[in-house]
Amino acid sequence: MTALDPKKLFKRLAADIPAKLHRHTVIVGSLAAAYHFRGRLQRRAVNTKDADIVVHPAGDVRSCRDMAEHLLAEGWVRTDNCYPSPRAQPTSRLRAIRLHPKRSREYFIELLALPRRGQSKPLLWTPVRLSDGWYGMPSYRFMRLTAMGRNRSKEGLEYASPAMMALANLLSHPELGRQRMSQSIAGRHILRAAKDLGRVLALAWLAGPEAMATWPEEWRKALEASFPASWRRLSKRVGSGLRHLLDDDRALEEAHFTTTVGLLSGLAVTQDNLRVVAEQLEQDVLIPAAIGGSSR
């Protein structure tokens, strides 16, 4: 993990990504959250390893290819795990496009694809051909939500709203499962669900009750637009993973751990504090959201 200044990083990305491609990109993840809450974080640097960039519209392979080629031409370097494949299939063998900036290994950007409407699988890989071979762009089913209600930064790049990032993470983990992060965080291989649900709690803590009061309606609109056939069912299950987390002390400890080394680093937020935040989220957001799904 590296401490990075979100504002400076946004500025750098805005300069390095071709201007004509800005409108096809949305910053998501910890960098987007750190930028949005930079006031509350008192401009502390964010502990993150990567800047996730979602390329849209869905299926827009060309923009992704143009962006990757341009960055490589500007001197960005593939990470050690990023190398081409001679063929487009099988997609399971394709590597994601991850690039370091020139002369720095502090962080990397990863290009993600906006999922198409109707994607039912949690993860799909879209082949992308660069000059040296085939790569893959992962598209996570619920990442589609991050394109809704985007915010525009002063630097000109768009980024996902905390409400949508929280919703996407909640829906991605209706249960805790067993998958662990391949990359360690401060020496620990954290449960994937704990990391993502911990992110939800960090976003809720930073947003505060007043901002969260608008989340149920924002969620309803985004779900209805993104998943017209299944949004009611999704509304009802949106909190199930979080409830499992609260029932599992070990998973909750891991979730808390990721926040202390990530977004909430240095803010002395305890595990008990996060539990109370979860209760607030349940009362103020999850229950109204589930009711909203039932009543319409």
Binding site: P209, E210, A213, V269, T270, N273, V276, Q280
Partner: protein
């Protein structure tokens, strides 16, 4: 009790008699040139200052009084503190007034007098002798049959009526509003008669004679335990935000909860003089804290800043006043005053009493 003490001091001094009804002091000598004011039940130097300033005004208005003796019962204030306070008052009150004012403090190892002269020493000796057993009686009454929570509920109802000038009330009224039995009501009224704080009205109704300082002082001391006050902190670890908590409570509208403290004070007095909201106070009519628990945890230790204080109102009728705008109701004026005292907003509390009485003048 106060009249009894006054009578015994007058009898012991012989050259002082009870002052006429409505006089701003208790005792005077026949030519009216010397007067005595007896102040028992003071809590501290703040009350002392108020008593001195009150008597100073009398001396400023009535030049015929050559010497006024203010007798106070302040066992917890040291002689050094008394001396310092007395000296500081000299900087505030005109010299010609202070020259005619003598402070006598009893209820200590030996009485303290601000001016060592024969009359002052004699008054000090007599007052100390009279008040010492009276204090013991009060202590005994407290340690044996201490005023109960129910007594104070009856008292609060009467005080509420006095503040709002709603007139004498019947025993039946008190039984219905409190939910207590006749013997409980009768005991409470008997206690208030003994302290001289209530008087009878028509058809066996009762009303407070004046602002009931003695019982009010007792209630202030016991307030936290009587009201079952519980303090809550923001359990999320975020900075306390009472304004946001108020917004959430108004949106949630939990049953059996009314807004007290500064929010209620602003309702009762639109000119209430305080900016901001340091803490939210609520009254709850049942001991069900679940409605408060989302986001709140019991405040632990003096270093934790409570964002909310909840107080239990154990009466059949909690006297919650509906908000015309339909949000949460407000607590009654007495609960509001108790909250203000707990917040150390004593001046604002005194002002609220004056304004309530002025607004409800018939």
């Amino acid at each position: 009790m106060a009249r009894e003490i006054e009578g015994r001091v007058a009898a012991a001094l012989r050259d002082f008699v009870s002052a006429p009804e409505g006089a701003p002091y208790d005792l005077e000598n026949p030519d009216g040139k010397r007067v005595i004011e007896l102040k028992t039940g003071l809590q501290g130097v703040r009350d002392l200052d108020a008593a001195v300033l009150g008597l100073s005004k009398v001396l400023a208005d009535q030049r015929g009084i050559h010497q006024a003796y203010l007798v106070v019962d302040l066992p917890r204030v040291t002689d050094d503190r008394l001396r310092a306070e007395w000296d500081s008052l000299h900087r505030v009150v005109r010299p010609d007034v202070m020259r005619r004012l003598t402070l006598i403090a009893v209820g200590r190892e030996s009485p303290w007098v601000s001016r060592d002269e024969p009359v002052a020493r004699r008054i000090a000796t007599v007052a100390d002798a009279v008040l010492r057993p009276a204090r013991l009686v009060r202590v005994e009454e407290r340690s044996a049959p201490q005023p109960s929570r129910r007594f104070f509920e009856v008292f609060k109802l009467l005080l509420n009526g006095w503040l709002l000038r709603s007139g004498p009330v019947s025993t039946r009224y008190l039984m219905e509003r409190t939910g207590f039995s006749y013997p409980t009501i009768a005991d409470a009224l008997r206690r208030l008669r003994q302290s001289g704080e209530i008087e009878g009205g028509r058809k066996r109704s009762v009303v407070l004679r004046a602002f009931p300082r003695q019982t009010w002082s007792e209630l202030l001391v016991l307030s936290r335990s009587i009201r079952g006050t519980q303090l809550f902190a923001d359990g999320t670890g975020r900075r306390p935000d009472p304004v946001d908590l108020l917004r959430r409570l108004r949106k949630a509208k939990p049953y059996g909860l009314a807004l007290g403290g500064i929010v209620a004070a602003r309702h009762w007095d639109p000119r209430f003089d305080l900016n901001g909201l340091p803490r939210l106070d609520v009254c709850v009519s049942r001991d069900d804290q679940a409605l408060l628990r989302v986001g709140l945890v019991p405040a632990k230790g003096p270093s934790t800043s409570p964002v909310l204080a909840s107080h239990l109102v154990e009466r059949a009728d909690p006297l919650f006043v509906p908000d015309p705008k339909g949000a949460l109701p407000y607590a009654d004026p007495v609960e509001t005053l108790l909250d203000l005292h707990e917040l150390r907003l004593v001046d604002q509390a005194d002002q609220l009493i004056e304004r309530l009485r002025a607004r409800h003048t018939r």
